[in-house]
């Protein structure tokens, strides 16, 4: 690929138990539209990187056995320079629950995990797009100031966590809507809806909107 055609970088926040179908599409669609993809996580001081595994997916050859996908991440979320990126995607399944680990809970103090601190900064940056899908709003639930009054959609199982965090879940005829854009926050319901590609396309459209 000719590097001068690159329009920018997208950061994907990831941890163990990520959704492999979303991962495949992030890696396919963003580069085809001119965006590099960086995987970002909290590395607990491991400079060489950490290997994370996905939730199991069907083996592409046997179609029966379930296999895990492994990725190595060497970018620490606490070191991310926001201006290097056009936007950040929070991958679905259970990964974002792990990134909000609060090592020292203190009454009245907002979540101090590196990923939540990063999001507080990122979501205060006008024009910087944040994409969430399925269960990934969990990361924002860790600090309700990030979700209060925001219009979003999410997986059925997440509705109450998200509402308890003060967000306004958008409903359609069959539960939460498939896709919703509220300013710089773009949310999608569930990869099982076949929404992921449309979600990525819409995310890019919002980035490129003048």
């Amino acid at each position: 690929m000719v590097k001068e055609n690159i329009k920018g970088k997208i950061g994907v926040l990831i941890e163990n138990h990520f959704d492999p179908t979303e991962y495949h599409l992030f890696k396919e669609v963003f580069p085809s539209r001119g965006y590099d993809v960086d995987l970002i996580s909290h590395l607990w001081g491991n400079k060489a990187g950490i290997e994370f595994s996905s939730n199991p997916e069907p083996d592409p050859i046997t179609k029966r056995d379930r296999i895990e996908l492994y990725v190595t991440v060497d970018k620490e979320v606490a070191d991310v320079v926001l201006s290097d990126y056009k936007g950040f995607m929070l991958i679905g399944a259970y990964a974002m629950d792990r990134l909000r680990y609060e090592a020292h809970p203190v009454k009245g103090q907002p979540n101090q995990s590196p990923a939540v601190k990063f999001l507080r900064k990122a979501m205060r940056t006008p024009g910087l797009k944040i994409g969430t899908i399925c269960h990934s709003l969990w990361l924002l639930c860790a600090d309700p100031s990030l979700l209060k009054g925001r219009k979003v959609t999410c997986s059925n199982n997440l509705i109450y966590d998200v509402q308890n965090a003060g967000a306004d879940v958008q409903f359609g005829d069959d539960g939460p809507v498939r896709l919703f854009v509220d300013g710089d926050l773009i949310s999608a319901r569930h990869p099982g809806d076949g929404i992921t590609k449309e979600f990525i396309e819409r995310f890019i459209e919002e980035i490129e909107r003048r």
Binding site: E102, P105, C141, D143, P144, N157, I159, Y160, D161, N164
Partner: protein
């Protein structure tokens, strides 16, 4: 003194933590309690779940729902001495519902259990997620959960207590699946105390 005649229900779904569930199965049996694993059977005779860490199958053939998808009979519910919502992603899976106009059946079951203070409620690690659709039952109560759920607990209106096991009346909570032995120990002690009150 044993726990003979006490019935302990443990809710189950896939992504349960093997070492934890096996520990309860044996530890409560050692006290001679009657341990039953309950799930939503979706009309099947039994369902086989897979563990989170080693994908070990676990067959579950009892339901917290009554016949024909109705809720559990009041007498049957009141015969339970304790209900445990375990760690892993059991609670997230059990709160799935196809009918968003009603509480998920597992949450509705817990809400009824909270209305009866003689039933001990034990929730550990990520188990508190099951109560998110009905946060009133733990509003203002002292609980602990996995540190990942710190925000969820506060968003539900409960008080997050930074200890490995927390008792608040008929509610026992513990931090992670790795604390299952301390959690089980406390539940056994509380059931003994309750046993002696009732003679």
């Amino acid at each position: 003194m044993s726990l003979k005649g006490k019935k302990i229900a443990i809710l189950l779904e896939s992504d349960y933590c093997e070492h934890e569930i096996w520990y309860y199965k044996n530890r409560f049996a050692e006290e001679e309690a009657d341990v039953v694993f309950m799930t939503r059977l979706w009309g099947y005779e039994s369902l086989t779940f897979k563990g989170h860490d080693h994908q070990v199958p676990f067959v579950c053939n009892q339901s917290f729902e009554g016949k024909d998808g109705k809720e559990m009979d009041e007498d049957e519910l009141n015969r339970l001495s304790a209900i445990i919502v375990p760690s892993g992603f059991v609670a997230d899976r059990l709160r799935y519902t196809e009918d968003l106009s009603k509480l998920p059946p597992a949450t509705a079951f817990m809400k009824r259990a909270f209305a009866n203070r003689t039933i001990l409620k034990g929730l550990i690690c990520h188990g508190l997620w099951l109560l998110a659709p009905t946060p009133n039952v733990i509003r203002g109560r002292r609980v602990v959960a996995h540190n990942n759920l710190h925000g969820d607990v506060i968003n539900m209106g409960a008080e997050f207590v930074d200890e490995d096991v927390v008792v608040d009346g008929d509610l026992v909570t513990a931090r992670t699946g790795d604390h299952c032995h301390l959690f089980a120990r406390r539940i056994i002690d509380l059931l003994h105390e309750r046993h002696s009150y009732s003679g």
